[in-house]
Symmetry: C2
Subunit: 137 residues, 2 copies
DNA sequence: GCAACATAAATGCGCGCGCATGAGATGTCA
DNA sequence: TGACATCTCATGCGCGCGCATTTATGTTGC
């Protein structure tokens, strides 16, 4: 049953190790992301992708201007282009983010975080850190 | 900005460490699960949850009988009860799994893997291992 | 200048997920 | 026994996701 391969000895052991690493990743991911999702939603009205986008926006934008090109921000995230676009729409409707036209390329948009977005992110980040500390600390 | 807490010194460093562990989990999870999803779907017509259910079914059932109570199998998986139920329905329609009534509690169902399910799982497991080896090996 | 191709973002679509609820079977207790 | 809680599983519903396509621009080669 076990061992489809041709190299005997520590082959099976290393394969088991790979399995263990993956199943621990799965376990950790589901436990933490489920709790993050619930806590962020209940406490701050944010989904995990919403939070991650705000986090990346705070991290990537110039400290003075607070603005990034959407495509650059998208590259920082684990989301498809369409999911990213809709997350931006969601956050814009909530007033946490603003699209701004780019002067030299009218296909592109800048993205800026609003004051409300900044405040919401900062309070959500405390919840976020608390959950992470609980699981990893 | 950093450090909302009360213990100075290595506080900030440990918090960063927690962040890094979580973001690495996120990165690994997305990279591996996306590739697993694509490879399993393209090569064997199975989603990741389908595969994980077959895997748990092979692992949990008695070696001779090949059958488990649905609720027991559900407890082994990172799926809600409804998602689990629908995954079973999907796999049953595909002919990889069979529901069987439980004699002494008519609420319950046994779940059994079929020969076709076993074959499909075994070939998919090779793809699965290859992807895992590529990322972790 | 213009046709062909490339890029940024939005949108139509189907799918799998979780939550809430429903349907049916079983357990409990007066 | 009858009323009611509990358990197992299925289903209605809305949501966020990725894929494919569309729309609007830019860019390149002739």
């Amino acid at each position: 049953m076990h061992g489809h391969g041709n190299v005997p000895g520590m082959d099976a052991a290393s394969e088991v190790g790979v399995d263990v690493r993956w199943s621990e990743t799965l376990r950790t991911y589901h436990a933490v992301s489920n709790e993050l999702e619930h806590e962020l939603q209940a406490g701050h009205g944010l989904g995990l992708s919403d939070f991650e986008l705000l986090k990346a926006l705070c991290r990537c934008c110039a400290p003075d201007k607070g603005t990034v090109l959407m495509k650059d921000l998208e590259a920082e995230m684990y989301l498809s282009q369409s999911a990213f676009s809709r997350t931006v729409t969601r956050l814009e409707k909530a007033g946490f983010v603003e699209r701004a036209a780019c002067g030299f390329d009218r296909r592109s948009n800048f993205l800026a975080i609003t004051d409300a977005g900044s405040e919401r992110y900062l309070s959500a980040a405390e919840t976020h850190r608390a959950v992470l500390d609980k699981h990893f600390g």
